[in-house]
């Protein structure tokens, strides 16, 4: 179910950032994408940054902590590792890793400096969250951050903040680099910005075929372009196929569906037919036709961006770990098989 451009350079991408308006199913899509990427025996890190435990709910596993925990192992050997990134733990780890602070680190915590940094100080929270992803991206399989060992993860998927905050979230490092004009934070922030602005990072946008989410998606795409970030695919979630064919939709819109045959079919099905029922059905058919029109308008707006568009069906039973796999199967041909072709 793809339309639009279909040959983006997914094979170079290591970090898939998934954003979208609240309620569009970001976490579900990020989870399905991680599963899809893992299907070629890859190790994929799936991170969330808002402490909502959406990943553990989606996969029905115990709440994720600040340790990287395997949540799925696929038959082919692929793995999805889950992580709920928490700023305080990330800061302490960062200080230990880069400054080997020891006693001074504990003192900083006692004096409230850690709390200050993670809850009050501008943007530091976001810097730390992204910094942790940056670290995981660079890590090699032997745990070091340099050397020739293969990377610890073949791909990373970030269940990111919603579209309204995504630009600020991803550009916070550029801001921090301005604020701390010299020193280690400055250079660290610069390195992270380079990763985010490279073609190793794409930002996928999850939306529904409704006005507000589509509007936010279009605004976010502009914002990403403006900040030098690369939009990936537009993932249209919860798509429902029209119940009627185009001819019937035309008739429904005009209120010209054939009442007599509707009555006849209802009677045949054993329903007690009343004028209210038939008129009600016609009214619903008109609503449905209008809804289909609106969805097509919205899809056209998305197509005009020129970005690849992926459509995922609405899941009748809601989201659980089984249905996420169904969605992942739909994503494999788009995000993974392409990689294999390009690589071979």
């Amino acid at each position: 179910m793809t339309t639009g451009r279909t040959d983006p350079p997914w094979d170079r991408v290591r970090l898939h950032v998934v954003t979208g308006k609240g309620g569009t199913g970001k976490t579900t899509v990020a989870s399905a994408l991680a599963l899809a990427l893992a299907s070629t025996a890859s190790r994929v890190l799936l991170c969330e940054v808002e402490g909502r435990q959406g990943i553990s709910q989606t996969f029905d596993v115990p709440p994720l902590g600040t340790d990287e925990t395997r949540i799925v192992r696929l038959p082919g050997g692929g793995e999805v590792i889950g992580l709920s990134i928490e700023p305080k733990a990330a800061l302490l780890e960062y200080l230990q890793l880069f400054y080997k602070l020891g006693r001074a680190g504990k003192l900083l915590e006692r004096f409230g400096a850690i709390d200050f940094a993670t809850t009050i100080a501008p943007g530091v929270r976001d810097v730390l969250l992204i910094g942790k992803i940056y670290e995981a991206n660079r890590r090699r399989r032997d745990g070091r951050h340099k050397g020739d060992a293969p990377p610890a993860y073949d791909a990373l998927v970030l269940d990111a903040p919603p579209t309204g905050r995504i630009g600020r979230f991803l550009s916070v490092n550029a801001e921090v680099a301005d604020l701390a004009r010299v020193g280690p934070i400055h250079s660290q922030a610069g390195a992270i910005t380079r990763l985010l602005e490279s073609d190793q990072t794409v930002v996928h946008l999850v939306t529904l075929l409704e006005e507000m989410p589509v509007q936010e998606t279009l605004e976010a795409i502009d914002e990403l372009h403006g900040k030098g970030l690369l939009p990936g695919a537009i993932i249209v979630n919860m798509v429902r196929e029209p119940l009627l064919d185009d001819l019937a939709l035309d008739q429904a819109r005009a209120g010209r569906l054939h009442k007599a045959s509707i009555r006849a079919q209802l009677t045949e099905a054993g329903v007690r037919v009343t004028p209210e029922l038939v008129n009600g059905l016609l009214e619903e058919a008109r609503d449905h036709a209008q809804r289909v029109d609106l969805e097509r308008e919205q899809l056209a707006l998305l197509e005009a961006t020129g970005l690849p568009i992926v459509q995922l069906p609405a899941l009748p039973e809601g989201v659980d770990s089984g249905s996420v796999r169904e969605l992942a199967d739909l994503l494999v041909p788009i995000f993974v098989e392409h990689v294999e072709r390009a690589g071979s």
């Binding site: 309620g23 709910q57 680190g105 004096f111 809850t119 501008p122 943007g123 069906p313």
Partner: protein
């Protein structure tokens, strides 16, 4: 209208009684992102205004379409009168959107001496804090709510009802935590560490903290760089004088929220995840003893074809060979029939303006109420409609 299964278990939330009660002076809409909080707040405000209340709606981050639907070309940090409403009952409607930077600037200008204010406004650290720091939106929403309340009842600010839409928060009800977080920071040792050296030339600071302070300061200099630390210190020092008042007002607003006269509404959509989040909000409000008035379930589908039950329709669809049977499910979930019955009243006048045109039917208020009800029952009362 026949009461559905919902009404038997949970009494109705009577929105008109709530907004018609002159004692109701603040309504707070909270809920997860994407459920239509802002739209609900605007619809409520409109209905209250058209039934005679003097209303101001404080929205946090509305889509542009919402401003347009209220007939405003722009929502800025000042309440603007919405003119295109029915004023026959003598009501009025103002709307505004929170601009956190401007609100912060106003606080600085109002509470710091002129030369100090200038110093703060130009500080690079302040510029970052006021436009992007985690939590600014929450503090400023509280600050603005306090301000709106303080000026209420004057000629330029005629409102007697404030409808607040809460920030899209990372976790449930971040804005309720804002005063506490600010408080623990202000009472903390860290701020004294930051301010002490400047206040007493460093010596008093050393006495207070002992030798640890030097290690902390030197570590921070190492990590942050000297310039940034100096910026932070200058900022905190300059703000120190007004921080106290800031916190007092935040505490005051928090108290206001827990009092009679305030009503919290949890907004949800009839979907599993949205309802789960709604449960968190309900739990949290109850834990904080906030006056929870009820649950608004948004996006309930409208059923025009009456006279056939959802289960009957589903089984017919399953056995029929019409296109309906081939699709995985009907567009309108089976729930809509019974949900419709559970709707107190289709508040078309309130919602049609703010709901986007065309697609979904106008928003409806669901007949649900949680009187000391646990989150499970609140979810259940919505769920019961889906069976």
């Amino acid at each position: 209208m026949t009461p559905g299964p919902v009404a038997r278990n949970a009494p109705a939330l009577d929105i008109d009684a709530l907004i018609g009660d002159p004692e109701t002076s603040i309504i707070v809409c909270c809920g997860a992102g994407g459920v239509g909080k802002t739209t609900t707040a605007a619809a409520l405000g409109l209905r209250a205004a058209e039934s005679g209340r003097q209303v101001v709606v404080l929205t946090i981050d509305p889509a542009r379409r919402l401003a347009q639907s209220l007939g405003l070309t722009e929502l800025d940090n000042t309440p603007r009168r919405v003119t295109d409403i029915d004023t026959s009952e003598g009501g009025s409607l103002h709307a505004m959107m929170l601009d956190m930077k401007r609100t912060f600037d106003e606080v600085v200008l109002a509470h710091a001496e002129p030369d100090k204010a200038e110093q703060i406004l130009a500080n690079p650290f302040y510029l970052a804090v006021s436009s992007s720091f985690a939590g600014t939106q929450e503090y400023m929403a509280m600050e603005k709510l306090g301000q709106l309340r303080a000026v209420a009842g004057t000629v330029d600010a005629p409102w007697d009802l404030i409808v607040v839409d809460t920030p899209p928060s990372r976790s449930a009800l971040d804005f309720l935590d804002a005063p506490n977080r600010l408080g623990s920071f202000l009472d903390g040792r860290f701020i004294r560490l930051l301010t002490a050296p400047a206040k007493a030339g460093g010596r008093a600071g050393l006495k207070v903290f002992g030798v640890g302070v030097q290690l902390v300061t030197s570590t921070m200099t190492k990590i942050l760089g000297g310039q940034m630390l100096t910026d932070v210190q200058t900022f905190v020092n300059a703000l120190d004088t007004m921080f106290g008042g800031f916190r007092e007002r935040a505490d005051e607003t928090y108290r206001l929220l827990s009092e009679h006269g305030t009503a919290f509404l949890v907004v949800a959509a009839p979907e599993r995840d949205a309802l789960r989040e709604a449960s968190f909000f309900v739990d949290r409000l109850e834990a904080d003893r906030m006056p929870l008035a009820g649950l608004v379930v948004n996006r309930i589908g409208r059923v025009s074809a009456t006279g056939i039950t959802p289960s009957r329709a589903l089984s017919l669809a399953a056995s029929s060979r019409t296109p309906v049977a081939r699709s995985r499910r009907p567009t309108r979930p089976a729930s809509s029939g019974s949900m419709r019955r559970s709707c107190a009243r289709p508040s078309d006048s309130a919602s049609s303006r703010s709901a986007s045109h065309g697609h979904t039917p106008a928003y409806r208020w669901c007949r649900c109420r949680l009187s000391g009800a646990t989150s499970t029952t609140s979810t259940a009362c919505v769920r019961s409609g889906t069976r």
